[in-house]
C-alpha cells in the first residue's frame, strides 16, 4: 500500500540537509506551510537557498528561518514589505544573497522545471534592469528574454486536504505556488488540515496529483474552518474573537 503520510511535521521535513534549495509555497498567509517551516527551523539545516514569493514577514515563519541564519540566498519577487525587517537587516548587512525575479517569470520558471522545459522566451522584464545581461530575441515583432527553470531539492507546500497517495486540493487563493512547486522539487512535502480517505477527493478537482508529492502531514484544522466549513476569522492571520488583538500585536499583524 502506498502511504505518503508522515507522523508529524518534524518527520515530514527530515533529511533536508545543509545547502539544499527549498521552495516554500504561499502568497501572504494563504498557502504558507507554517508548521513545515517551523519544523525546518527546528531541524536546523544551514546554507539554504529559499524560493518563495516574499522574504518573510514579522518575526515568524520564513522571517524566523532567516533570523536563525539558515538561509544563504533567497529567490523571490517581492522581498521588501512593511514588516520585512529581518530580511532588510540581513540584506543591508550583506549577509543574504537576493535573486529578484518578476512574479510571473518566477512562476513560469518553476513551472518549466516541473515540465521539463529547458528554457523559454518571456516578454516580461524585457528592457528592464532585471533582464540585464540576459539573452533576448525578437520573435514575430515582440521582444523576449530567455529565462531558465528553477529547480529545488525540496518543496514545502501548504494544502487543504490530501489522501495517502499524495493527491492534494487547496482552498481558494492559497493554491498559488503550491502546484507548480510540487512538480519542480525532487522531494515535495505537503501539509494539510486533514488527510482523507482515498476516493474522497473528486478526481476532476484534484489540483496536485500524487505523482508530484512525496510526503504528506496533517497539521489540524485552521481556526477559520469547522469540519471543513468556513466559519470566518477577524483578521487575515485567521485569529478569531477576543484573541485577535493580543496575538496580532505580538506577531506584527497582517501585511
Amino acid at each position: 500500500m502506498i502511504d505518503k503520510v508522515r507522523a508529524d511535521a518534524a518527520d515530514a521535513v527530515s533529511g533536508i540537509e545543509d545547502g539544499s534549495t527549498v521552495m516554500i509555497s504561499g502568497f501572504g498567509r494563504a498557502g504558507q506551510p507554517v508548521e513545515l517551516i517551523d519544523a525546518l527551523i527546528e531541524l536546523g539545516p544551514r546554507d539554504l537557498t529559499i524560493v518563495n514569493n516574499n522574504a518573510g514577514n514579522g518575526d515568524v515563519g520564513l522571517a524566523r528561518l532567516l533570523a536563525n541564519r539558515q538561509v544563504r540566498k533567497i529567490i523571490c519577487s517581492f522581498p521588501r514589505q512593511v514588516d520585512s525587517w529581518v530580511f532588510d537587516g540581513l540584506y543591508r548587512a550583506g549577509e543574504i544573497e537576493l535573486e529578484l525575479v518578476p512574479q510571473g517569470n518566477l512562476a513560469e520558471r518553476i513551472r518549466a522545471a516541473g515540465a521539463g522545459i529547458g528554457a523559454f522566451f518571456t516578454p516580461t522584464g524585457f528592457g528592464t534592469p532585471l533582464a540585464e545581461g540576459k539573452e533576448t530575441r525578437n520573435i514575430d515583432g515582440t521582444d523576449y528574454v530567455l529565462e531558465y527553470p528553477i529547480r529545488a531539492d525540496y518543496a514545502l507546500i501548504g494544502g487543504f486536504l490530501a489522501d495517502r497517495l499524495g493527491n492534494v486540493v487547496y482552498r481558494k487563493t492559497s493554491r498559488n505556488f503550491g502546484p507548480i512547486m510540487a512538480a519542480a522539487a525532487a522531494t515535495s512535502i505537503v501539509q494539510v488540515d486533514e488527510v482523507v480517505e482515498v476516493g474522497a477527493l473528486d478526481p476532476e478537482a484534484v489540483v496536485t496529483p500524487g505523482i508530484y508529492v512525496d510526503r504528506v502531514v496533517a497539521v489540524g484544522e485552521r481556526p477559520w474552518l469547522e469540519h471543513g466549513v468556513f466559519v470566518g476569522a477577524d483578521d487575515a492571520e485567521g485569529h478569531r474573537g477576543t484573541d485577535a488583538g493580543t496575538v496580532a500585536a505580538t506577531e506584527g499583524g497582517a501585511a
Binding site: 494563504a30 514569493n53 529578484l100 510571473g104 518571456t122 516580461t124 528592464t128 481558494k172 470566518g232 492571520e237
Partner: protein, 217 residues
C-alpha cells in the same frame, strides 16, 4: 479643479465596459472597484490566482485563504474560478485581460512605464507582479497624479527611473487630464479644469490636443 483620487477612480471606472476582465493592481487603482456601474458584470482578476473577486468581507467573515494581490482579504462572487500562479500569470502574459490599471513613478511619451523602483542606491529592490501587469493586458492604463510631491512631471520624454515595461502603457489618467499614448507622443483627450497649454508647461512636453475630438464608441 483637479480630481482627487476617488474622483479619478470614478472617472476611470466609466471607461470600463460591462463584460470586461480587469486587473486593478494594488494601491490606488483598487479604488476603481468601488465605482464600477452598479449591476454591470465586470470580472476582476487578482494575480494570486482568482477571477471573480468580490469586495472586502464583513468583520468576522475574513477568510485568510482568500486574499488579493495586496494581501487584503476579499470575497468570492458567483462564477468565480481559482487557479495556480503559473496559470494566473499565463493569463496575464497571454494578453487575455482587457484592462489593467497601475500606478506610476514615470510614464514616457513612448509608453514606457517606471513604477517599481526609484533606483536609489541602498534601496531594497522589490518588483512583485509589476512587470507582468505592465505587459499583461490589452489596455494598460496608468492612474497617477500628474506631478510628484516635489512638483515634477510624471509624464516624461524618457524615463529616468528603472523601467517596469517598454512601450506598454496605452493611456494615463491623472488628476489634471487624461492622456493617450500615441505614435506622436502624449495626446490630451480630456482636461480637468486646465488647458493643454498649461499641461504642456507643467510637463515640458509637446502634447497633441485631442480634447475636442469625441471619443470613439
Amino acid at each position: 479643479m483637479s480630481l482627487d483620487r476617488r474622483a479619478l477612480a470614478a472617472r476611470i471606472a466609466q471607461d470600463i465596459p460591462e463584460g470586461s476582465y480587469v486587473n486593478l493592481g494594488i494601491g490606488a487603482p483598487t479604488l476603481i472597484s468601488d465605482y464600477l456601474p452598479e449591476g454591470a458584470e465586470i470580472i476582476l482578476h487578482t494575480e494570486n490566482g482568482m477571477l471573480g473577486m468580490g469586495p472586502q468581507p464583513k468583520p468576522g467573515e475574513i477568510d485568510p485563504d482568500l486574499i488579493n494581490a495586496g494581501k487584503i482579504p476579499v470575497t468570492e462572487l458567483p462564477g468565480a474560478a481559482y487557479f495556480h500562479h503559473a496559470d494566473s500569470f499565463a493569463m496575464m502574459r497571454g494578453g487575455h485581460l482587457d484592462f489593467c490599471v497601475l500606478g506610476a513613478f514615470q510614464v514616457s511619451q513612448h509608453g514606457d512605464l517606471a513604477n517599481w523602483s526609484t533606483g536609489e542606491p541602498g534601496a531594497i529592490p522589490a518588483v512583485g507582479g509589476a512587470m507582468d501587469l505592465a505587459i499583461g493586458a490589452k489596455q494598460v492604463y496608468v492612474m497617477t497624479d500628474l506631478l510628484t510631491k516635489k512638483g515634477e512631471s510624471k509624464l516624461v520624454a524618457e524615463c529616468g527611473y528603472p523601467l517596469t515595461g517598454v512601450r506598454c502603457v496605452t493611456r494615463v489618467y491623472t488628476d489634471r487630464a487624461v492622456f493617450d499614448v500615441t505614435p506622436e507622443g502624449f495626446a490630451v483627450i480630456e482636461t480637468f479644469d486646465t488647458t493643454v497649454d498649461e499641461l504642456s508647461s507643467l510637463t515640458g512636453l509637446t502634447l497633441v490636443d485631442r480634447t475636442s475630438i469625441p471619443e470613439e464608441a
